[in-house]
Symmetry: C2
């Protein structure tokens, strides 16, 4: 069933006549088309794509399930007019996306009899499990990220600065792979690897450095996200020990993944192993995050998540140990949940350092 049809079913279920979609990833999900500062008005009768002159003509060709409306003057008045045409009495909006001032302006323009109802994760919930077309794109984004990681391993060497390496990898993705990056890529070398949110710096790579690389590719809107750690020379036995703990934690979590398992168990599996080895306090973030049209989306793979895994979910598994100001190890892969286990989408990428 198409995403649009699923939304319509959900509208009935929630006793709404229509939903105003403002979140750009949700718009892309429902239209398979990318347009900024646009809106969807999805109703049981008819659905509108409201956009400006930049996208209007192209959208007419590429978004057949929607009636395309040109913003020519007030966006808010246009939405109110369409809502009136559709005789809507209960209209949902995306409370986690709409800016307060916009929400107020639309409310002012809407007919007073219309209920303007805050909704939460209305479209996002459907996006949690991926369809086959989506999986294909995610796999392509993952394959490209693997190529980029191979490229990185080939060129990484003492003397390069972190930003130079990051730039060359980005060039590879954009020029060679003709794709985009999912996020500003992270090159964290030496002690910088101990900061989970390090911003790629001008530090020069040294002999025997640890180099942590976290990168992702955007292929037709779908994202990938992988992390590997490379060693520029000899690996001290202590570093090797930490590396093997992180890797064992990741493997333990991966083995646990299948439809029906409580999400918090996946995090727990990796975390307990790290705790048992005495490094629990050095693993300060959740085990992973859903990924698709956004780099971070549902499901959040954390101790607090009370949901269960569903077949078709795609997320990262990225245990880590960060020893402050010394070094950090993080290994990040992407998995797809199946009924009886999982597929490691980035399974082809070496983890030997």
């Amino acid at each position: 069933m198409s995403p649009l049809k699923r939304i319509c079913l959900k509208l009935k279920d929630k006793n709404l006549d229509a939903l105003l979609v403002s979140n750009s990833a949700n718009i892309r999900y429902l239209t398979d088309y990318e347009a900024r500062e646009s809106y969807l008005l999805v109703s049981l009768k008819k659905s509108f794509f409201v956009t400006d002159f930049r996208y209007f003509y192209e959208a007419k060709k590429r978004v057949p399930d929607f009636s395309i409306k040109l913003i020519d003057g007030s966006l808010f008045k246009l939405i109110a007019k369409l809502a009136k045409e559709l005789k809507i009495s209960r209209l949902g909006f995306e409370a986690k996306d709409l800016i307060y001032a916009e929400q107020q302006k639309i409310r002012e323009e809407l007919d007073k009899k219309i209920d303007f109802v805050a909704t939460y994760d209305f479209v996002e919930e459907l996006r949690e499990t991926k369809g086959l077309k989506e999986i294909k794109k995610i796999k392509m984004a993952t394959r490209m990220a693997i190529s980029a990681m191979h490229f990185a391993k080939k060129i990484v060497r003492p003397g390069l600065r972190e930003i130079d390496l990051a730039f060359e990898i980005e060039r590879f993705i954009r020029i060679e792979k003709k794709a985009g990056i999912s996020f500003p890529l992270i090159v964290a070398s030496g002690p910088n690897s101990s900061f989970p949110h390090h911003i790629t710096s001008k530090r020069k790579l040294l002999k025997n450095d640890i180099v942590l690389i976290d990168l992702g590719v955007d292929f037709q809107g779908y994202k990938s996200d992988l992390t590997r750690v490379f060693f520029l020379g000899r690996i001290p036995s202590y570093v090797r020990k930490i590396y093997s703990i992180v890797l064992a934690a990741q493997n333990a979590a991966i083995r646990e993944v299948r439809a029906g398992i409580p999400i918090k168990n996946i995090d727990k599996k990796a975390r307990q192993l790290i705790i048992q080895k005495g490094y629990g306090r050095y693993f300060g973030h959740a085990l992973g995050h859903g990924i698709g049209l956004e780099v971070h989306e549902a499901p959040h793979i954390s101790e607090k998540n009370k949901e269960r895994l569903k077949a078709g979910m795609v997320f990262t598994i990225e245990p880590a140990i960060y020893l402050p100001a010394r070094f950090g190890i993080r290994i990040e892969d992407m998995v797809r949940v199946g009924e009886k286990g999982c597929e490691v989408l980035s399974g082809g990428l070496d983890k030997s350092g």
Copy 2:
């Protein structure tokens, strides 16, 4: 007077006890520090910088005028607690920045006796006129953009694709100039130059092409934005004519700029000249936009703006003529308003094509 003191004066004026600042450019303006997903609570008594573990320790050193508070658990409860401590009774928030769901959650946590008041452009209005420190940074960003444009002129040649050229320019800005880009830079060649919002494509530059380049540099948060058109060979006399009209329109507008002049007159000056020459319908956007911590900020230089210019405003002047599917000419410079005229910040950059 520091931006923070000016905000406090304005609070008194608007009968507010405090302002919750969520807009990241406004946070940077008030703290001279960049942090994502952070908040300021500015009050007449004491001001707080609310941030997470990524920025907490650095902010303690670098943001002396604020008491730094760590988000450790619920952000919304923390804001409510601080508001209570300060005995606030009227608290403003930024209606054009805060997401509806966040506004609702903060409202729920706040003491019921507190008025939570929507404000519009409270900080943005102060940002319209730039102080000397800001001008210095804008000038540096402009100088770097000029260098990048020189670099572009040096390397542009038939056979390169638009994306290759864009990538080389970006590399120059990031690696040579150690700065950032203000926005994804635009290279629009041949007929692509006729689309005001062209997205840099894989089109190969041809002999005798027009190449329009629109680029900007981010230096310590402050942006520049310049456009030039280059010719790869012979310039047909018709193109030369259009170019000279756009240039004359720009010069006419620049001559008009000084404190006290109605903003709409600046737009009018350039537009009338283009209309008189018979190309009015091919200049479909406003003449320019304010620039500073954001690429587009107040004042909008359009026919509809009823305000007057103030000394210290900085904005672009970018008249254009777009002949659909044929070619387009846009020339964009940046000016600073003075009492008796203006300084063209990008005056050093050649306009001979």
